[in-house]
Symmetry: C2
């Protein structure tokens, strides 16, 4: 069995196990074929993760696959989209069955969880890196963008921030304690806010997923929308684990560390009052959109900071 | 100016200079947005090219970009599709303005030539590789597949085969002669058969682009269709340059070398007679589809060969 057949043996089941009515033809031809229903738009995003840059050397293959697919899927959540399928361009030094089996397992688990079918792919020999393009659909004209924030809108975030960034300190700890474990879970198994994004499509005035840190990613909304914002840092949601382990540094991690894959959204005041309960439960209001450009941070310690340092890993969406 | 801004400066014009009515939102958001008209299907394919595997070290950036985009676009030709847009995942060791400028120039030229807008991308630091996903559309239900070949169909190929493979011998020649130049042009600037593929959508019973050699790629059609074929090797179209420079080896290159990006198609006999002139001019009939599995080669020198060796670079579509 050649290397090509070996690789295909591990990935073919991902195309077969979960069909999607929109995906008419998956792997095995020159292209995949997708039929978008007339009342929907297609949204898509491509993301690369490189060993030693986006994940550690000797990181478990199952986790490499799961994190890469989750990170890409988070871009669908930020558009309010429903996942359909993905393509995989995998570059790896050699075709090792144990590695491929574990990688395919992580990919299958994550694909099943988010409702994604494997539509196609390409494998090449080289230093380990994973490029994934995800496809989703959203009701025609209702995709969330970065560009619609308007003065007066409430700025809100989902979940808690800073956990995945803090977890970097514990990746090599042999026996992490329960608090460290809580942070590590956020790093190893990010959960894109798909249902939240879908519920906010057509409601939120703008949205972005927080992959590079709140200050940096909210900054992208402000720039795209031509507005500014003030954020009360005392309102930024922090997990108990983060506060207990990182104390005074917790806020900096929440502002500037990446990989949380929560959503940052802006919502007109009147709509905020009318959000369904399950949506409100996932969101914390942290500030307001204003006319003057820039991000103004105020907080419990009189902390003032208008920086927008994010994790700039020379690995950025165009 | 940060590396991120530097890179964006070179690529942003590719999204702006050529809009496409189907592409509602290109770079600068979490996802791109594409609206497919209800009477069309979306087809898409992802391809990676790695330095030292798919193109030589120190290869001109303009050519790297052009070849990568042409190779990906050839998959659209093989489906009978019309190009819409593409995404680019670029991994490079450092952000060097001269390199980026030349690369972006090659990308822009090629994108303009084939009618592709840049929809999105991701840049990461690492060993040089280029992953491109192309999107095209084809009239609903009329995409060409590998799986429809039927006994009695004529097997035909476009253009001449073996030229790009032969060019590998001359890549390092300081002053190639005109014949060598003719072969090098096929390697440096492949031209996907887009118009031919579009004209054959709904007409050809199967199609594939020849990226790994005729024997290997026709083999994919035979496997997907559950049929066999006999091919008269004396009919395989060879360029004068290839025959003069490679003599007795020309046929082997045509059968087993890759990178030509011509089309191999199967066409029912009655339809073959009725092909429009500009389609017939691009095609040469080389054999027939038969019931018995396998590829049977016969030729002027009594050559019999049922091998399907192709260029297996551990770099294969799933």
């Amino acid at each position: 069995m050649g290397e090509f057949d070996l690789i295909r043996r591990f990935f073919a089941p991902l195309a077969e196990r979960r069909g999607h009515p929109d995906l008419l033809l998956a792997i095995g031809d020159d292209c995949a074929i997708e039929r978008i229903t007339p009342d929907h738009d297609l949204v898509f995003s491509i993301d690369t993760q490189v060993e030693g840059v986006h994940f550690p050397h000797r990181y478990a293959p199952r986790r490499i696959a799961g994190r890469a697919l989750a990170a890409a899927t988070s871009d669908l959540a930020a558009m309010g989209a429903t996942p359909v399928c993905f393509t995989l361009a995998l570059t790896l030094p050699q075709a090792e069955p144990a590695w491929l089996s574990d990688f395919a397992k992580g990919l299958a688990e994550t694909a099943d969880r988010f409702g994604l079918a494997l539509a196609g792919g390409d494998t090449t020999r080289g230093p380990l890196s994973i490029t994934i393009q995800v496809h989703g659909t959203v009701a025609r004209g209702r995709a969330l963008r970065r560009s619609g924030a308007t003065p007066g809108d409430i700025v809100a975030v989902s979940g808690t921030l800073g956990d995945a960034g803090a977890a970097l300190d514990y990746l090599d700890v042999p026996s992490p304690d329960p608090l460290e474990d809580a942070l590590l879970a956020r790093y190893h198994s990010p959960v894109p806010r798909l249902e939240l994004g879908q519920a906010l499509a057509g409601v939120a005035s703008s949205a972005i997923d927080i992959s590079d840190g709140l200050a940096s990613d909210l900054g992208h909304i402000l720039e795209a929308s031509g507005v500014g914002a003030s954020v009360d840092t005392g309102r930024i949601p922090l997990s108990d684990a983060l506060k207990q382990l990182k104390g005074a540094n917790a806020l900096q991690l929440a502002l500037h560390a990446g990989d949380d894959y929560e959503l940052c959204v802006t919502i007109p005041g009147q709509d905020w009052q009318n959000l369904p309960g399950f949506v409100r439960e996932q969101l914390t209001a942290i500030g307001r959109i204003e006319e003057g450009a820039g991000l103004r941070l105020s907080g419990v310690n009189g902390c003032e900071d208008d920086s927008s340092r994010g994790y700039d890993h020379f690995g950025k969406d165009l």
